[in-house]
């Protein structure tokens, strides 16, 4: 059987850095920017999280979307911006697995933001613990559509 690792080429770091830095245009409006060093830290966190969760990703759209969605959160500021982004990226892939891939990327990121701001008050620990558990139960009881409608 062909090993998939033969076909997975690492994303070029320069390219990845420039994609992440490009989000500064939006986040600057909220008083936050990422440096090249931050971008590298986020890429490493993403690569590590993909490995840990046993997933394969075809582009960097998720990182981009997480940054664009969470830079508006009241619980994120310049001081914790890069670290929080790394943690949220890790949380995303973890939640993707735990929810059995039943929620699309954009929907999951928006649910995360909603819970992060309104139920967890900025705690990623609560987000990946208590709230994820509830979310998994809700999916199991086919309430996913209701959750999305309520948002």
């Amino acid at each position: 059987m062909a090993d998939i690792s033969r076909f997975i080429m690492p994303i070029s770091r320069e390219n990845a850095i420039s994609i992440i830095i490009s989000t500064n245009k939006l986040s600057q409006k909220h008083g936050m920017v990422l440096t090249e060093k931050d971008a590298l830290q986020i890429i490493d966190a993403r690569n590590k999280a993909l490995k840990t969760t046993g997933r394969i990703e075809v582009d960097l759209r998720v990182i981009n979307e997480i940054i664009r969605t969470f830079c508006k959160s009241p619980y994120i500021n310049q001081a914790n911006y890069a670290d929080m982004t790394c943690e949220l990226v890790e949380a995303f892939y973890y939640m993707k697995n735990e929810t059995g891939d039943k929620i699309g990327d954009d929907d999951l990121i928006h649910i995360m933001r909603d819970y992060f701001d309104n139920r967890c008050f900025g705690s990623i620990e609560l987000l990946t613990g208590r709230e994820l558990e509830k979310l998994v139960d809700e999916i199991r009881f086919a309430c996913y559509n209701d959750i999305l409608d309520d948002r």
Binding site: M1, A2, I4, R6, F7, I8, M9, L50, G54, R55, I56, E57, V58, D59, R61, V62, Y93, K96, N97, D101, G104, D105, D106, D107
Partner: protein, 469 residues
């Protein structure tokens, strides 16, 4: 790319695996210097691009990441389609130049279209298989045609799971290719099944039914429930029939004919037996008027597979288990089953009849003809209506299968504790004297059996069938 250049460069087609064609072809081409490292990398990047597109399609654009196992599966599906395209070329070299010219995306697109057209071809083939189906009570044959194959067509997904043979096919073919995958597997399965059907249609249903019933009696099984191949059994008896100078269409062999056959065959060298078998297959094919080349090749291949079993059967004097004879007056058999217990009234009457009878053979006959379930059989053994040697007379009427079932009852602990290294003879030698008469009688009887029968029972005890019972 001339052939001389290829041979100079050491391109070796033997290094290409038909089940992993594209990748092994590229590896071999790289090894032989027909493509450069950078060309290989470029082709791999193109395959990765296809994988990306497929991941997006698979998640309907809602997710850009998937679990590794799902991605691996998508990759297998892509490569299966590309291999299907590649296998259409007469030589690996022509295939390689086509790959380099067209690029991977086009190869995948064409491969996928080919796979889909093969599904349509397979559907037509299935209609032909259905119209030529053998009328039989063999459950696996019928469920394969009625359920498993239609389920395959319902569930097969050429876009994301082209390599998967999503079908619970039970019926074993005489010459199945278990390495084939996806629609290729179904196609070859249906082609062979059609040939087997066409072969069997040359015999009357009554002849085939009778042969299968005799087969069941010889092996002491209810044949409709077993995974046996009708074509193979029919072909085998047709071959022996012709060896005996009878018509190929006559599947009925008498016991004395089988004895005669064994006597004739035992005087032959192994090589002579092989020649005789091949010339007999030729005569069977000719007599049945088979002209289709594929069918002739298939019959020959399956017929020749008989040789090692034939040599063994002649040497072991077990030809009657290969050349199935008519079992004119079958002994009443006990085929233990759950759910067929006697009612209390019938059971009580049997006990009374047994107690009133003094002839051990008659008592054994009564039990064999009236009891159908293991539970009833053991209840009779416990009912104090057999005495002394009467147990032995009864046990002598049992076949290896029934004895193995009873042995399983008395050796249940040993079988459980030594599941890997269980030895029947050893377990019998260590069995403790029991308070129960029938257990002691059975244990003594089993210990006195020949080594061959003990071995046969041990084999049955180790089989899954035995475990289920």
């Amino acid at each position: 790319m001339g052939n001389s250049l290829v041979s100079q460069l050491g391109f070796n087609p033997q290094n290409i695996d038909t089940n992993d064609y594209l990748l092994t072809l590229l590896d071999e081409a790289l090894r032989a210097g027909l493509i450069s490292e950078s060309t290989l990398q470029e082709l791999q990047i193109q395959i990765m691009e296809i994988l990306k597109d497929q991941i997006i399609r698979y998640t309907r654009g809602k997710s850009s990441s998937i679990p590794v196992e799902a991605a691996q599966n998508l990759l297998q599906s892509i490569l299966f389609c590309m291999d299907t395209f590649c296998l259409g070329f007469p030589t690996p070299i022509t295939c390689l130049s086509e790959l380099l010219e067209r690029g991977m995306k086009e190869v995948y697109r064409e491969g996928l279209a080919l796979v889909k057209s093969k599904v349509n071809e397979a559907k037509k083939l299935f209609a032909e298989v259905r119209s030529t189906r053998i009328q039989t009570s063999l459950i696996a044959y019928n469920s394969t045609l009625n359920e498993a194959i239609p389920d395959f067509f319902k569930n097969y997904d050429a876009n994301f799971n082209a390599h998967d043979t999503a079908a619970g096919i039970d019926y074993p073919l005489a010459g199945d290719d278990v390495n084939a995958r996806g629609v290729e597997y179904i196609q070859q399965y249906l082609q062979k099944m059609k040939m087997e059907n066409m072969f069997c249609r040359r015999f009357s249903r009554k002849e085939i039914d009778r042969l299968l019933e005799n087969y069941g009696r010889v092996y002491r099984i209810r044949y409709p429930e077993f995974l046996i191949n009708i074509f193979e059994i029919v072909l085998t008896n047709a071959i022996f029939s012709v060896m005996l100078g009878e018509k190929a269409t006559s599947l009925t062999l008498r016991k004395n004919q089988v004895v005669l056959l064994r006597e004739r065959l035992s005087g032959l060298e192994v090589s002579e037996m092989g020649s005789l078998l091949r010339s007999t297959i030729d005569r069977v094919i000719e007599e049945l008027g088979i002209r289709d080349q594929d069918m002739i090749v298939y019959i020959f291949r399956c017929g020749e597979n008989l040789l090692p079993r034939l040599i063994n059967a002649v040497q072991q004097e077990t030809l009657q288990r290969l050349a199935i004879p008519v079992m004119d007056d079958p002994e009443p058999e006990i085929l233990f089953e759950f759910g067929e217990s006697m009612n209390d009234e019938d059971f009580r009457r049997l006990v009374e009849d047994l107690l009133a009878c003094a002839d051990p053979a008659e008592k054994a006959r009564m039990i064999m003809s009236r009891i159908r379930s293991l539970v009833d059989f053991i209840d009779i053994l416990k009912a104090d209506c057999l005495f002394g040697d009467e147990y032995r007379v009864l046990f002598e009427r049992l076949g290896d299968m029934e004895l193995s079932i009873l042995a399983r009852v008395i050796l249940v602990d040993e079988l459980r504790d030594q599941s890997d290294e269980f030895s029947f003879a050893k377990a019998l030698s260590l069995i403790q004297i029991s308070d129960t008469v029938w257990v002691n009688q059975l244990s003594v009887f089993l210990q006195q059996l020949s080594h061959d029968r003990q071995q046969a029972i041990e084999d049955l005890l180790k089989t899954e069938t035995g475990m289920v019972i």
